[in-house]
Amino acid sequence: MNREDKVKINKLPTGVPGLDEIMGGGLPEYSFNIIAGSPGCGKTTLAHQFIFANATPEKPALYFTVLGEPALKMLRYQQQYTFFDEGKLPGSIRFVNLSEVILEQDLDAVLKEIIRQVEEVDPGVVVVDSFRTVVRKAAGAASEMELQGFVQRLALHLTSWQATTFLIGEYAEAEMRDNPVFTVADGLFWLYQTAERNSIVRKFQIMKLRGQASVPGLHTFRITDAGLQAFSRTLGLTRRRNTEVSSRRLSIGIPELDKMLGGGIPEGDSVLVAGASGTGKSVLATQFLAEGIRQGEAGIAAVFEERPKEYAARAGSFGLDLVTPQTHEKLNILYLRPLDLSVDETMQEILDAVQKIGAKRLVIDSLAGFEMALAPGFRTDFRESLYRMIGALTGIGVTILSTVELEEAFTELPFSTYSISFLTDDIIRFRYVEIDGQLRKVMVVIKMRGGNHSKDIREYEITAEGIVLIGPRVRGYQGLITGIPTQIASSGSNKRPLRKPKARE
C-alpha cells in the first residue's frame, strides 16, 4: 500500500494556542479521547475551547453534563473566556444534562440516551463531562466486563456517527492500568496542576494519541482569560529546517573586539558575555544590537532587570539609538519580569518576537534575571529549556548574545555560575583587575568554537561611546586573570606583587 492509498486522517484544530503543534498538527477527526486530571486543572475549559473552535450549525457539538458542574454554572463561568462565542448556543453547541439518567437508571439507559441524542443531533463533537461519574456509577452496579462493554459500545457508536469525542474525568494516574476506558481511548491527555512554593505549575502530557506523532513529554500551559495556552517543549521548532551553515561574521560594533574574535561573531553562534556587575555586559549587548540595526539586521532584546524605556535610555547615553528602530519594527525590547512565568512560555514569547520582525540578533540580558523571573518550580527546567531555545534559534541563523553576572573571585576565573558554557559557542569574559592602585577592566576571549581568536587580555573602558578597548594587550603583569596581577620586573628575575592579595571573605 503506497502513501496515496492510505486513509487520510483529518486533524481538527484544538482551539488552544500551541496545542495543535504538540498534538502533531491537531486532534484526529473521529477520535475517542479522554481528558484527565485533578479538579481545577482546566479539563472543562480545554473541552470548551475545542467545541467552540469546531462546532457549526451543520456539525454541532453535544455536551453531556453528568452530576458535575451544573450546566448553568458552567455557562456562567465559561462565558468569561474570550473564546466563548454565545452566538454558537444553542444552535451549534447543545448542552444535555444526563444527571437523572445516571442517578435513576443503569448503564444501558445512559448509553441509550447518549445514542438517542447523537442520532437526533448528528454532532461533530461529543463531550461527556464528567465521565468519571458514569464510571463510578458503573463500578457500583456493573462488573468490569460490563463497564468495558459499555465503553466499547459507546466508542463504537460515536465513531460510527462520525463524532470526535472527549470523556472528561478526574482520574489518578494509578487508575490507568485497570480502567478499561483508557484501553479503548485513542487519545489520552493528562493535565497536571501542582503548587510549588508560592506558584502554580500547570503541565500537559499526551499519554497516548493513535494515528499520529505528537510531541512527547510534559508541556507547560497557562490559563488566562483567553483560556488555555500550551507551550511545546520543542517550542515549535523541531520541524523547521536549519539554515545552511553560514561563514559570515557579524560585527559586535567594536572593531577592536571584532578583531579579537577573529573577524566578528560567526553568524548563528551563541555568545556568552560573563562578568561582574558594572563591567559593561549590557553596554556590549546594546552595541551588538545597534550595530546589527545599522547593518539592516533586526534585533530583539529580552531584558529582565530594566524596563525597555530605561534600557533604551541607557543605550542613548552611549550614543546608541534604540528608540527609533522600535518604531520601525527593527528592534523589540521585551521586558519579561513578571514572576510565575514558565520557562517555555517566556521562550515562546521571545520566539514569537524573533519571528515577528525577522530578527537576526537576540540579546538575553541577563540569564540571572531570566531565571529569577521564572516561577520556582520552573527553575529546575531552566537550563534544559534554554538549551532547547538556543539550539532552535541558532539553528535558524539567529545570533544570540547572553549576559551573565558573576561574583568576582580573586583566585580564579569562572565563566558562568550556571554551568552553561555547553550552551555557548563563544565566551567573552570581562573582569576587574587591580593595577597600580586602580580598579581597571580587562576582557579576554575565552572560547571561539568557530575558529581561532585572540589570546590577548585587553584593557577597556566604558566611555560615552560605549566600550572602548585601549592599547594593545596588557603587558608587564602576570596573574591578570586572577584580578590581582603582579608586575613582572624588567629584568625578568624579580617579581613583586603590586599589592598584597586580600583574603577572600
Binding site: A71, L72, L75, R76, Q79, L89, P90, F95, N97
Partner: protein, 146 residues
Amino acid sequence: MPYLLDPELRDFAERLFADEALALTASEANVPLAFRVFEDLRRPLTTLAGAAGFRSLLLRALTLAKRDEPSLDAWKVTSDGSLESAGPGQNHYDVDRGALLLAHIIGLLFTFIGETLTLRLIHDVWPDTSFSTSTAEGTGNHESRG
C-alpha cells in the same frame, strides 16, 4: 438591597404570554395558559440543566414571585418540574401571575448566564419573540440582591 423585578422583564414576559394566547388551538384550551407556557420552557431547560436544575430554578422564581403576588401561594412545582395549582378555579388566561413568574425565571437566568445566552435560549423556544431593551445590563436588580 430589596429585590425588585425589572419592569422590562415583566413587559417581555407579558408579551410572551400574549403571543402564546394568540397561538392557542381549541384542543389546548383546557390547559391553563400559564402552565402551557412553563411546559414549553421546561423541556429545553431540563435538557440543559436537568430536571432537578429546572425544578430548583422554578421553585426559586416562584418564591420570588410570591413576594409580589401572594396569591401565587396556590401554585406548586411538582417533582418533575411541572406547575400545578392547589387552589380552586384556575384562570385559564391568568396572564398577570404567569407573566410575573416567567419574568422571575428569565431574571434568574439573566443573573446566572447573562442576557445574551438567556435570550438565545428563549428564542429557541419562542422564535418569534424579541426582547428589546435600552439597557444592556437588564439584570442589575437580580445581581445586586443581597
